[in-house]
Structure formats: structure tokens, C-alpha cells
Amino acid sequence: MHQYLYLIPALPLLGFLILSLAGKHLHKRVIAWIGAGTIGAAALITILLGIEFLQSPPASGAYTQLLWNWFSAGQLSVAVSITADALTLVFIFVITFVGALIHIYSTAFMRRDRDYARFFASMNLFVCSMLVLVMADNLVLLYLGWEGVGLCSYLLIGFWYETPANCHAANKAFYITRIGDTAMAIGLFLLFKELGSLHIATIIEQAPKHFEAGDTHITLIALLLLAGGIGKSAQLPLQTWLPDAMAGPSPVSALIHAATMVTAGVYLIARMHTLFQLSPVSMTVVAVIGALTLFIAGCSAMVQTDIKRILAYSTISQIGYMFLALGVGAWSAAIFHFFTHAFFKALLFLAAGAVIEALHHEHNIFKMGGLKNSMRVVFLTFLAGAASLAALPLVTAGFFSKDPILWYAWGAANGNPFLWILAIAGAFITAFYSTRLMLVVFWGERKTPVGDHPGKWMTVPLVILGIGSVAAGFIEWPHNLVHFTLFSEQVQKVLPAVVLKQNLPSELIFQGIAALVTFAGLYTGYVLYYSNKGILEGWRQSAALLAIRNFLLGGWGFDDLYHALFVQPFLFITRINKKDVFDRLYNGIAQANININRLLSLTQNGSLRWYIAGVLLGILFIITMQLL
């Protein structure tokens, strides 16, 4: 199967080409088949490839295919070459499998849209770019995918381009991720200058020989790459674009802004783990950024009223967990959390999309309610997703992936109690807002009448994802419970195993605490939003609490800060210099000439006597010069 590796990104690309060139003339049914079919085929190939990989792993640990030599100049030689090792396969699987489900969902979700073909073309291009990103065997090709997903994200956030707010959100997403990308590009330059190659395997091999641990250059490189990851993965301080990005259609949010693209930063750091390991400083930075982000975004998620914004902040927060895991060196735990998160968060977004559509594009959760019975399938799948998000112990995938992260936040060699406290606080918050979301949307009295119910093309993907949200965790158990660690076994062929501290307390204690905290969060949510709503009413009276709420609602004021700090000065400079100061300079020269001309033309006054006097003065001048 591995000789068809190139088909995995090529099929979506083919879909994109057909849809973008001929999409206008095709029937919607054909478009749906091309759009979802190409991804489905890619998913099928991926699954077959995965089976082959598990049964008879390649000797080098990776399938590689050289497609063509892209360019080579001087020392720099870049090939369009794709590779798939265990890490990549996890990503490919999520991208194609979850992607195919989301595409199937979209065929029904977008059925009334005028630009059906454009939607699927962009989605297919996205899948292709994302696959190139994860399959690239060199950083330039990775960068190609990296920018490609950015473009598709831009196109899809602004899919309904006639609303200025959507375009604004799309631009914002592109600008902010572009800042990260630029930093990453600089990182690549530095890396090339130091190592003379951008081939990932070469870098991984050469870096430990070339750099000493803690070298300034390696730290710089790692931080620059990290900046790229931060931008793409919406981590502190470049997280502000993601909540606004919810302006796109729900499947877009599910695919791009939950399951795949936003985890590209995680992939990058995991892929370049050698560089990060060589630089303890950057590891610490990754962990701290992850911990802070998960906390800050979680707090914001608690008070949002827009269902998709809640999920957006939750995504930021969950990616924060992945960063935290990366930062403490728990590589496979991070990837595993990515894996499960893709399922439950995609599910939540798709279910939210179904709810929103049923309620006539209502986004405010407080205008929903009582959907428990009227939308049975959506309710059940949403429940599975939310439970997984809240990390309900033992029955959900979220628990299996999040619990090790909490454990390693303390227990790994790079771990630290402060990180753990933030993480555990995050777990509490997550459980709380998951409960809040469930209770407000599905319980209580009905506030908006339900419009059209989702059809089978929408519910089937929801159900499959729901099963995934529960079952995906079972391929990796905490060692102390059941010794079944299929996932980390595979991933650790690529990524190093986590190093633990000496003399740690038992892991079980931590698991117990985590479970308790989760239940505490659930209970708090239950009390505040179901059994005793009066408390909340009481809090609403307090001005200080309201101010805090608004502060959290606005995402900790980052938007305003950046607006004042960067956007305004930039706009100011461009506005005052619209006419180009240099132009003024040259026009000044021209004006000076005109003035001189005016001055000199005074002498040309038409009086013959003056002219003769002028001649005389000239003669006098010359003769006087002669005399002197």
C-alpha cells in the first residue's frame, strides 16, 4: 500500500482542482461526491496504510516517497518528498478520517448554500495542505503546507464574505498566524545557516552533534519555531484570532479550528523535538505557555454565551494542555491528547452546528434550552463529546489522554508543581463549563422552536465521532491501571519516552485528585446552572464580579491591548504617510525650480533698457574679475 502514499494528499488536490475549475457547472450531488469522496478515499488508503504499518513496520520506521526535486541552489536542496512515520500516521489518520466525516456532514449542512462548490474546493485544498504539512520530509515543504492551511483557513473563515465581520475575522486570523509564520521562517533561515540543511531527518540527526545543550543558537531556533507553532495553534500571546474565527461555517470550525490545523503547532514541536530537547529554556517556555494558555482560555470559556466561542476557547485551552505536555517532555501524551481531542472537539462543533441550524442560526446558549428530547441524537452525541471534554474518568477518551498530562505536569523531569496547579485548575474549569454548556443548551425550558432536524448525512458522522470520543481512549491506558499502551508504543518509535522524576508519590493519588477535581467541576456547574440558579443571580448584582465577567468575556483584554499597541500605531503611520513623504521631497524640488523660474523671469520684464543694463553689468563683472 505504501507505494500509493502520494495519493493521500493528491486525491484531495484533485478534488480541489476539479471543483475550483469546473465547480460552477456541476450538480450539487456530484460536487458532494467529489468533495467528500476524495477525502474518503484518502482516509481509506490511510487506514490500509496504517494496518500495513502495524503489521509489518518498515525497516527505517517510515515510508518515504520522492516525488520530484523542487529546487536546489547552492547548498540548499529541497525536494518535494513525502514521508510517513508513526507520528505522521496519527496525524494523517485524524486528518483524513475525521476530515472525511466532517465532509460527509457538510454535504448536508451546506446543502442550501449558493457557493457549494467553492466550499468543498476550499475544504479539499485544506485537507491537501494539511496532509502536505504533516507528511513533508523537509521544513520548506512543511512551510508550504503550513501557509496553505493558513490560506484555506482564511478562505473558509471568510466563506460568507458578504458580511464584513467575517472578512475581518478572516483577515485577523491570517495576520496573526502570519506573525508566527514569519518568526518560523526566520527560524528556518537560522537553522539552515547553522546546519546547512532543512531536511527534517538530517536536522534531527545533525542537531545533537552540532549544538551543545543550551546553546544560544538552538534556543533561538527553538523559540522561533515555537513562535510559529504559537501562531498556528492559537496559544498565548497569539491566541486572539481563534474565537473570532468562529465566523466560518461550523464544519470549518470543526475541521480546521478544532481537529487539525490548530494542532499544527503541536505537530511542529513534536516533529522538531530534538531541537527543543537541546534547549531546556525553550522547553520551559513551551510548558509555561501551555499552562498559562489553558488556564486563561478556560476562564474565558466559562463566561461566553456564544456556543461556538465557548468551544473555541475550550479548544485553545485543550491545545494548551498539549503544549504543556510537550513542554514537560511528555511527547506521546501530547500527541494522544491531540488524537482524542480531534474526535470530541470535532463532534462538539458539528453537534453545535446542528443545533445552531435547527434553531435558525441562534448562537446564544441562553436562548437555547430544552433540546434534550427534541433533538435526541444530537443530545446524546453532544453529551459524549462534553463528557470527554470534561474528562469523565474511565469512560471517556478525554480522561485517558488528559490524565497522563496532569500526571506528567508534576511528575516528568521538567515538570513542576506550579504547572500542575494550573493544569488541575484548568481541569476544574473544563468540567465546569462543559456542564454549564450541557445544562443550558439541553435542559431547562425551550426558548426557541426547533426548525429542521438534521438528516442522516449529518447524524451518522455525529454518531461515529461520538463513539470515537468514548472509545478512542481505550488504545492507551495509564500504566498503573491496565497495561495496554498501543498508542505510545507506536509513537515512541519516533518520539522519546518521557523521563520521570525520582521518588514520586504514587500516580494513583494524582489520578484520584484529578477525578475529584473533575467531579467538583461538574457539581459546581450543576449547582450554579441547574439546582440553585439563585446564587448566580446574586452574583450578577455585584459590580466587581460583573467587571471580572466582562474582562473574561473579552478574552482578558488582549484584543484591546493589541489594538492599542500594534494596530493603531500601524494605521496611524500608514494614514499620515499615505501621500509618501519622499514624494513631498521631490515635489519640493520641483516647486523650488518653479520659484526660481518665477524669480528669474522677473528680470525678463520686456524693458530694453533693463536688458542693456544687464549686459553692462555683465561686462563690468567680467572686467572687474579681470582686474582683481
Binding site: N587, L608, L616
Partner: protein
């Protein structure tokens, strides 16, 4: 009476030239200005002849002949112009004949 020198002759021609120049500069009527120009040309011719005499060569006189021809041409054209000016402007006052005055250039920037 001492023999006159080159300087003396040239000073005489300089004085004549300068007088002509004064005439051109101060008079208002074109006719007077033309008269003064003739004086200046004559003075220049004198200087040429003096130089020729000093070297005892014919070149000075040749130059005088050229000046003479030029003066004749100049006077004929000049007087014809005077006639035209008089017919068109009804005056010979140079202060009133300022058609060569420059107009300001139009704004470009």
C-alpha cells in the same frame, strides 16, 4: 607736442564707446538709441583701425570694413523696425514696447 601712443588712441575709442553706451542706456526714444549704437560701433571700428595701424597690417582696416557693413545692415533693419513700431504702437518710447515680457509659468505640481 608729444607723439601719440597706442594708449591714447584706445582711450579715445573707449571714451567714444562709453558715450554711446550712455546714450543707449539713458534715452527713451528708439531713434536716439540707434544713433548711440552707431557711435558705439564707430568707436569699436576705431579701436580695430588703431590696432591695425600699430602693427602696420591691413587686418584692422578689414575689420573696420566688416563693422561698416554690419552697421549698414543694422541701421537699415533697425530703421525699418522703427517704422513698424511707430505704425503699430504710435510711439517710439521703449518703455511702452514690452512685448518680450515673460509670462509666469503655469503651476505644474
Amino acid at each position: 607736442m608729444p607723439s601719440f601712443t597706442v594708449h591714447t588712441v584706445l582711450i579715445v575709442s573707449a571714451v567714444l564707446f562709453v558715450l554711446g553706451l550712455i546714450g543707449v542706456l539713458t534715452r527713451k526714444n528708439v531713434i536716439f538709441m540707434l544713433i548711440s549704437v552707431e557711435i558705439m560701433l564707430n568707436a569699436a571700428g576705431l579701436a580695430f583701425v588703431a590696432a591695425g595701424a600699430k602693427w602696420q597690417q591691413p587686418d584692422g582696416q578689414v575689420m573696420f570694413l566688416f563693422i561698416l557693413a554690419m552697421a549698414a545692415a543694422e541701421v537699415s533693419i533697425g530703421l525699418a523696425l522703427v517704422l513698424q513700431i511707430y505704425h503699430q504702437h504710435k510711439t517710439l518710447d521703449v518703455e511702452n514696447i514690452t512685448a518680450l515680457k515673460d509670462e509666469a509659468v503655469d503651476e505644474m505640481v
